[in-house]
Point group: C2
Chain length 192, copies 2
Amino acid sequence: MDSTVATERALDAAERLFYQRGIQTVGMDDIRTASGLSLKRLYQLFPAKERLVEAYLERRDARWRQRLAEYVEQYENPERPAEAGDRVLAVFDWLGEWFAEPDFNGCAWINSYGELGATSESVARQVRLHKAAFKGYVVELVERAGLPSGLGDPVFLLAEGAMVTAAITRSTEPAAQAAQAARVLIAAGRQG
Amino acid sequence: MDSTVATERALDAAERLFYQRGIQTVGMDDIRTASGLSLKRLYQLFPAKERLVEAYLERRDARWRQRLAEYVEQYENPERPAEAGDRVLAVFDWLGEWFAEPDFNGCAWINSYGELGATSESVARQVRLHKAAFKGYVVELVERAGLPSGLGDPVFLLAEGAMVTAAITRSTEPAAQAAQAARVLIAAGRQG
DNA sequence: GACTCTAGAGAACGCTCGTTCTCCTGGGTA
DNA sequence: TACCCAGGAGAACGAGCGTTCTCTAGAGTC
């Protein structure tokens, strides 16, 4: 089997299991079984579990942010004059769809941070990078909408709060609640 | 040694270690060493590690919410006509002080949920109870301030987002940012 | 003073899990 | 055909850890 195909299979299995059950409770044996690869092959591709965890978070980060950006770009419709803030609010629509996915289990980075942030410096670093990138994206959307850039902070906090709460309560509501609050903040920001 | 004293010592050690390093990475041996109790005594008081975890979360929940309520009550000053929402905003002041504590390591329940929410039903249940109680308290503050009770949701989400972000970025700023957003929402709510 | 019960110190047990090793098969190559 | 070697299956190793067991000391009681 091609090495890139094997890597992908390993990461697919790792992502599914790590995200669903947590990192520490999933053993390399579980990943072997789920991926159909041998332990030998797994350790050739990822010399230690920690490397696999890093690769899992990296790949998921790229995909998560890309999916978000693709969704938000729908709202960049040149045909109609976009309301300032439409694309900012689209973030919460996307969160709502994500929360509704059957295998939604919270934010992978918040979960990983709770599990390993205190122990693994590499995990902590990746979580910080992911959150900084997400926040940077939110700020960028705010600024491109011509809104005061200070709006980025509370919008980001609302999104984080919605992710955590959706996970714990197993509900999609927080997305709509956060969206509504963001709408009010945007309206206030436009006046001020 | 008195049994209640021993229980307290066990919980003190457990809380310090679990909160700082996570639950799974702390062994019963670590708790024995830190508490000065023997394993035998520990297992008399808590027949399994899971019981100790439950007791840790329960005791911390009671103390956390009591400290918050005590702080907020300062703002219940009958001498002056309190601004509606003062006590709601006091929640964020208190969060800011908490974030600044040297051993602050995020929200114990969010962390525990990330670590064990998928594995341990008892942990998941306690996290949900704690968050429901906190949210209930926020809603109560909002209503007692004569504000529209729908304001409870976004204020709660801002608080959650602030906790998560303060932990990951190791910064106290999110408390002030969330407070500022809450101020705007409250002002808008008073008008609407 | 003999007995009993509690508790301390820490060894021991059994299981899990990350990692490595052994043995074997099969395909490519001179 | 003889050789080589990448890879598969899974046993084996070693450490960590939750839990229990052993042995001992001491305090309370008749």
